[in-house]
Subunit: 368 residues, 4 copies
């Protein structure tokens, strides 16, 4: 079934009480990196700012936990605290229904919620929730987004640990379902280890046999890349001829590899400064229309922080951003929800199976 | 801080629309064990049945997923389907607001729920939820219930696997915080194994050393009890001189040991027929005012099925029943919630620590 | 790749020290249900009993935690303690290398273990272990077993909660990959609920919408079956026309539904006495050559207790029994291992994905 | 019971075959950051390098996954790949028994391993393992280390989420059981949020009530610190007057706050470059004699990478380094083991309970 975007309904600012709301007040930053008191912080929802009579401006490219800066040209920007410069004009006000000129719009898209019984079963989301429909909808969504959107994958290393999953992911890259990849040193390292030695942390990704001196393998992989200068160069020179990194580089997929304190090496492309990495991730996140985060709390939450629930397209259309997390534990999934990302869809399973299943589903959906 | 029972507010049946509701209709059972169509099934909440003009009768000793039978003496009973006899009069109607003479009362006790912000963090319950207040409240509650209530503990075998936890539980039994014990063959077996050999499944419950031929230990424990005739006899004869089973027998705590297909043995007191076991468990559950279930999905859910959210005391007072589950995983806890037991409190931790902490907290609270 | 059974190498009893071992001693049971002291308890491994000069008899149809009874006709039987009758002759001795005429043979099949490095990664089995090869081997194994073995599935209710998984399981039943089904009241109830209403515990197994008054659905399903007399009759009369129970009944798959204290209802076919249920399960387990347990600790461990690591075929050949557990948590899997079932294979994933993937894999393997 | 260090037994290099081993070969680094081929990588164990006739030098201040550099003054250093400079002399050889002049010594301390039965239960470590002895040993160990060692705590944010746990940790800091603290922006942020508002991510750390506009709280906390310049200044000025950060600053505990891509803010003291953070962490880790990591995979694994299994004290004594991880899931714990840290002790529980229990245990042990 073909996917179609849900209709967005903007608030009606022409009627009371919104019509009568005050304009939003902006105050100057006095100290770099420090917002004025009573700053407004963004949520994941569309937010409108009453700038002048009859004009409520929708914040584009939002993300949660930022302040809203009025740029000189009159546009609004969601900005991280650390990027505030002295003199920046920051929106004030914490009330959400226009009382201070700010309106947080949580019901722009139809979200049919079910259930008004006094007594009900299955109110909690768990591993026993049915996921058949999620897969079916995901196939349709990805098919749509491949041409009309921007699909960002956020990968923990697990995908590189299993032969079938790794190959399935590569196949999706090749067929255009991956527009950007956010990951860390580990994913890239073990993928390269797989390309060079067929192992991940020394264990064969198919036979599961532990290679003799297997604990050298990831170090040898890192060393090989460092000696050639970069992953890209290693691919160019033919040293790396398959795998996830090979596929994304060949396909010109945008990649951000963010460093962490767990890293060995690191690989040359890995960004050691996490706030610089955040900036690069946000540059990608800002274009995302669908995000799929697999088996990584660190990168999933980091990306979740940066991705709002909506996107304003080039043609000014407001559409949802779809956010999927796939993990084995209810805890990981709830953790994201507890950071405010209530609109995320979750599938509780092993990402190995998830990737293989999605790739196969896309192939079959396509061939129909 | 001393615990006091919250006030119960009954519905006001003297005003509309409740005043004008029809009487509840009863229909005869035609086939033993089979309810008439459109039977009403109970929830965990107080339910009132409109029997005659101006008289709405509150169902006492309820439990969920039962039908309501009008007894000859005019009282109402929540009865399991398997206990329906031909000719029993069963209440009909599934609407919950009096439309069919049945009113499900979900708001009898003040439950202050928080939060109306459009955007909020920490809406999900996880292992990172703070539990300090739960412990403090539990100390007060158990102190109150020791004298005024009926405290039912539901134990998985884990408590018998650890020396400190086992001793702490025994101390609580001795001091009167345990009025009934619901468990299975495994808890009793490993507790007896501990009493006889200091091990659980062959591993020392303190040193963790695996005994040589340790896999014989639980079988030897079962054999010892079987050869003496029962746990009670083994205690009487001095063969078992310490541990959980010893303490509850000595203290005349009510015990139901329910069988399962996992059982070795079984021990003589274990009830092999699970529906007979259910009946015995319900006889206990019907008196419960506080239930604490530790590290057992099977017994926790079984007991949760039988325990409603309220109890009508001897003096006709309606009070809450407190239900705690302690487990390591969000899944286990959600599983209970998904069976309708939304009023359960949960603490996510290792039951070893929980039991030790509660026993110590009760001791300190007492000595103040 | 076609599957072939590994070769079994029996111990060489013709050479020392085994040649010189004493005969095993048997002692009479004096009290029904109580083994004599120093009884020998079985493991999961092939065990040989030195009965007379030059004759070491291999125990057939073994299972762990039983005693070995010398039958009148001279054969040996692994018997549960509860089935011991006064006068039964029970093998004595706990040493495993023939010192008491009993030899436990752990190395009959080649098990190539890897790794002798002093320092190694990935020594623990986790969700990040690669499972590609497990799937591939499972396809081959099931294809082989379909014709040459006896495949027992042990199902928690989760498989009935998801449309795709439920359909995939049905497809495997129809194509002959399921020779026996061990489950509980919940699996059957929610499967029947699915057949009648398309829901599980009131939630649609595809759309995930909660039906109004959804908490009645499983009770209505149970009621429907009880009123018709049994699942079989409900199928015969056309009341149940699809789903897992429908498929296994139509295909004459052996089914044991074991009761538990969690059960509502129960359904008529459910065996309320757990030790009677164990006997029926063991009658199935005794024929098993491959067991696959999905998302159930209770039934998986119960079955694991009954399934040894080997089977003596009709032609006297000794072959391995393959035991797979599929679950979401390392804990569940380790729990089985800690009961002695060290030879079990485990796949850590959501059983929904597992069943769908296996069914698809079998179909593709078949069509090659 | 007083703790005493186990005796270390060095290998005997005076006898064959070690006596006859070749000297270790060193090769120059040709490209900065790239080790020569066949470099030797360190493990967590004591490693000896045969430098000249009769002299095997033990590597001090080791950590795994580094190369060994021969310094100009003749000493050996374990160095990360990224710190290799052109011309550095790197030890070659991967064999572990002296064949290339390198000896990896895994058995320096008595590690009594149990069990040679062919069939055994409880071979896996799980939440059901008994932890009583671990607590008792930990009290003794920490009492010893307080005076004689260097205790490093590695904290995820969870400890700051619960009032009792937070207070217990502060008490341990005050009494000298915390010599260094490794954590991230989140721990510090939510601890400061607790100091300023009594909340963590907007939820009261005792009452669990969600504050109105609670999602502003951590941002306000960060803003407050940023406006004052640093956590230290905020403490000096009295803005922060209690909590974990307050306690460690007042007590001059060494603190490393490492940045991650999940960070809001960040707080001024947080190190944004993860490799610079690693260097600072290693400077601490190099002195660690006991490490306790609570509820953080990221920081626990990062620290685990840097901490070897032994330490050479000022007086040249070789002693073990104790490494504890406390977490709720077997997966987290296995993850560390799978990175080679096989010597880590693990306790599976909620860190809230762990911290409260340890603090109380230390107090009681002390007062004896």
């Amino acid at each position: 079934m073909a996917f179609s975007l849900p209709t967005y309904r903007a608030p009606d600012f022409s009627t009371r009480p919104l019509r009568d709301c005050p304009f939003v007040v902006f105050e100057k930053v006095r100290k770099t990196g420090v917002a004025p008191e009573n700053y407004h912080a963004t949520s994941i929802y569309p937010e409108y700012f009453h700038l002048r009579e009859g004009h409520w401006q929708l914040l584009k490219d939002s993300r949660m936990d930022c302040v809203v800066v009025l740029e000189k040209k009159g546009t609004l920007t969601a900005r991280e605290f650390r990027h505030l410069r002295k003199g920046d004009l920051v929106a004030l006000g914490r009330r959400e229904n226009g009382e201070e000129g700010i309106y947080v719009h949580t019901r722009g898209f139809d979200l049919n919620r079910s259930g008004t019984d006094k007594f009900a079963f299955r109110t909690q989301f768990t591993r026993e929730t049915s996921f058949s429909i999620d897969y079916d909808q995901l196939y349709d969504l990805l098919e749509f987004e491949r041409k009309n959107g921007f699909i960002v994958w956020v990968l923990g290393p697990a995908v590189s640990f299993d032969k079938d999953a790794r190959e399935a992911f590569v196949a999706m890259v090749k067929r255009g379902y991956v527009h950007a990849l956010l990951a860390g040193n580990a994913l890239a390292t073990h993928d390269v280890e797989g390309a060079l030695f067929g192992t991940a942390l020394g264990q064969n990704i198919y036979t599961k046999k532990t290679a003799p001196l297997g604990h050298y393998r990831h170090l040898d992989a890192i060393r090989a890349v460092r000696s050639l200068g970069s992953i890209r160069k290693a691919i160019k020179k033919g040293a790396i001829s398959e795998g996830i990194m090979h596929a994304v580089v060949k396909k010109n997929v945008e990649v951000v590899l963010a460093g962490s304190i767990r890293d060995d090496g690191p690989l040359p492309e890995v960004i050691g400064d996490v706030y610089e990495a955040q900036d690069k991730m946000r540059a990608v996140a800002t274009r995302a229309t669908t995000v799929i985060a697999l088996a990584t709390q660190l990168h999933a939450i980091a990306t979740g922080n940066m991705v709002p629930s909506y996107r304003v397209t080039g043609r000014g259309q407001v559409r949802p951003v779809y956010f999927y997390t796939v993990d084995m534990s209810e805890f990981a999934v709830n953790k994201l929800a507890n950071r405010g990302s209530l609109t995320a869809h979750s599938i509780l399973t092993n990402v190995q199976d998830f990737v293989v299943t999605v790739e196969r589903g896309l192939r079959q959906a396509c061939s129909k």
